[in-house]
């Protein structure tokens, strides 16, 4: 088990480094730079001074190593578009609306989705199964900005109950969170249902019933635990994915979150900010996959104890 953890840690660290190199190289490979003549009409001498100030005149690998050395000390540099603060300061300010929106969306959508999926699987071919399948299909096929527009139209424009956009008061949070919760609700419901049905169709479930276990024990002691294995491995990374991926919803409801900075950092070639965002999201995914691997191993004796 310790060997397994060490191996997973190593492979995740390698992933992290490879992603950081790839992103760094790709970022610089795109034609154009932050201080091009079109962006900043200044003399060549001044441009060279600015480039030197930000270290952009050095070879790429030096820039990378320097940046990563800083990252190791939690120094992500200074954003080009807002030089008055560090990247960390900017992110900690913009992070909050995104975190509230993404977190609340997942915390509402995921449990509801899991419950819906469970009910659907346990009452196969009943009305609740059909309802769950319909909701899941709608949630997955209708783009989130269409859902957002519908919500704005109904609750803000027609009924006038809630504000259409902004992030000032708590009532302005409600619509974006509902819109965003639709995605995890649909995916979690779908995945839970299929993981449960997968387990329910296994021969050992028939054996459990045949030996006289009550249906409650069959489901709660055995089926749920077996279904949990594929569920945690998918849900943990998915959780991070949804908690960070609210760009569209933020744009629709004009939430001043990370999404806006992410887009503008790419547009304006704000290397330090762009890199910091990618690294943080990658790190979160890496941690999520690592936790998922550990959970998988803890739940599965075949991994925990090694094979025959």
């Amino acid at each position: 088990m310790i060997g397994y953890i060490v191996r997973r840690l190593l492979s995740i660290s390698v992933t992290f480094v490879v992603v950081s190199i790839l992103v760094f190289v790709m970022m610089h490979a795109i034609p154009g730079g932050p201080f091009d003549a079109t962006e900043m009409p200044v003399s060549e001498a001044v441009r060279a001074k600015i480039m030197a100030q930000y270290g952009l005149d050095q070879p790429l690998y030096m820039q990378y190593l320097k940046y990563m050395w800083g990252v190791l000390h939690f120094d992500f540099g200074v954003p080009f578009q807002s030089p008055g603060e560090t990247v960390i300061e900017l992110l900690s300010r913009a992070w909050i609306p995104s975190l509230v929106l993404g977190g609340a969306g997942v915390l509402i959508g995921a449990p509801l989705g899991i419950i819906l999926g469970l009910c659907a699987a346990l009452n196969r071919n009943s009305w609740i199964d059909y309802l769950a399948s319909a909701l899941a299909t709608l949630g997955l096929t209708i783009p989130v900005f269409v859902i957002s527009m519908l919500l704005i139209l109904v609750f803000a424009v027609w009924l006038g109950w809630l504000p259409a956009s902004g992030w000032g008061s708590p009532e302005s949070w409600i619509l974006p969170i509902i819109a965003y919760a639709a995605i995890p609700l649909a995916t979690y419901a779908r995945y839970t249902r299929s993981a449960m049905l997968d387990t329910l169709n296994k021969p050992f479930v028939t054996v459990l019933r045949a030996k006289g276990l009550s249906e409650r024990d069959v489901i709660f002691k055995h089926v749920l635990r077996n279904s949990a294995i594929p569920m945690v491995t998918v849900f943990l990374p998915m959780f991070i994915g949804t908690a960070t991926g609210s760009i569209f919803v933020e744009a629709m409801f004009r939430v001043p979150g990370l999404g806006a900075y992410f887009v503008s950092s790419i547009e304006s070639r704000d290397y330090p900010l762009e890199m910091a965002l990618v690294l943080i999201i990658t790190l979160m995914f890496c941690v999520a996959y690592f936790l998922a691997d550990i959970a998988y191993a803890l739940l599965n004796p075949r991994i925990r104890l090694g094979g025959k």
Partner: protein
């Protein structure tokens, strides 16, 4: 009162392609302490009949009809759900083909066996574990203490099937239903498991139903036989009569097609054609289009099970005349 009474049992499944008629009008009985083999190929309805008896078929897709479906006097058709759990495992136990798939991979063998005891008896956990250990010894499990603390993936197929038999018998059921219990095992282990099942039946006096496609298995283990084909009973007799004087053309052909009965490389007697389509079973005898003896009557008319003597019944128009 017989241990098992099945009368006019029919089972169909709804599928995207229509109704699959898996079992058609099957009747059979088993007295206490007796052994019965149900022989048939895949799709003959042999497993489905017994799953229907224990009400283990999925309620959403399976339709079960019967004039009588009794297990040790309990009417399984009307038995309420919460009482069914008390019958399963206590009155009748099942073992299946693939021992690896029969255990929950996440629990130790000890947990899965004690759980069975605790489901039926009001005893302490340590008392239940004691029973498990002595049962494992009874099925001649090598190193039972190690087996108890093992997970399924740590044991061989043969050991798991022994553990499965122990789990099936731990609540001293009145009948053991074994559904292809040796098909997934290695040849040398197969013979050991069959002998073990036979021994345990003798010792405990329980009834035994052996569901199999393998005539060799029934020749070794049971006294009575039901031959099924296309969801119907073709022949019902003692194992001795079946091997000595099979009456139904299907039973005859089946016995003749077994490879390796005589010395020398030779071609086998084959049964031409394929099993009938369960979505649209033929109107007449299900075997008619593979049968050498069939004529126009067999195509139209469904033969009924006809008695010949006290221990032999056959469903064939050609045998009657």
């Amino acid at each position: 009162m017989p241990l098992v009474e099945i009368e006019n049992l029919s089972v169909s499944f709804s599928s995207p392609d229509g109704q699959v008629q898996a079992v058609r009008d099957v009747s059979l009985t088993l007295e206490h302490g007796q052994s019965l083999g149900i022989v048939g190929e895949s799709g003959s309805g042999k497993s489905v009949s017994l799953m229907a008896l224990l009400r283990l078929l999925p309620t959403q897709s399976a339709t079960v009809r019967a004039t009588k479906l009794r297990l040790d006097g309990v009417d399984m058709l009307t038995c309420p759900k919460n009482e069914l759990a008390g019958v399963r495992g206590k009155v009748a136990s099942l073992i299946f083909q693939d021992p690896m798939a029969s255990f929950d991979p996440l629990f130790k063998i000890a947990d899965q066996l004690t759980e069975t005891v605790l489901a039926h008896f009001d005893v302490s956990k340590s008392e239940a574990e004691q029973r498990v250990l002595s049962m494992l010894n009874r099925v001649e499990m090598p190193d039972p203490n190690r087996v108890m603390s093992s997970y399924p993936h740590q044991l061989s197929g043969g050991m798991l099937q022994r553990a499965m038999i122990a789990m099936a018998l731990i609540c001293e059921p009145k009948i053991l239903i074994a559904d292809e219990p040796t098909t997934a095992l290695d040849v040398t282990v197969q013979a050991q498991i069959l002998q073990l099942i036979g021994d345990l039946q003798q010792e405990t006096g329980m009834g035994l139903i052996m569901i199999t496609h393998d005539l060799g298995v029934v020749a070794e283990t049971v006294n009575d036989i039901v031959v099924m084909y296309g969801g119907k009973v073709m022949e019902q007799t003692t194992v001795f009569d079946l091997f000595e004087a099979p009456r139904h053309p299907y039973a005859q052909a089946l016995l003749a097609s077994i490879p390796g009965q005589v010395a020398g490389k030779r071609k086998l007697r084959e049964i031409p054609g394929q099993a009938p389509n369960p979505l649209a079973p033929p109107a007449g005898c299900p075997f008619h289009f593979r049968c050498e003896k069939a004529d126009a009557k067999c195509v139209e008319q469904m033969p009924v099970l006809q008695r010949f003597g006290p221990n032999h019944a056959t469903a064939c128009l050609k045998v009657m005349s």
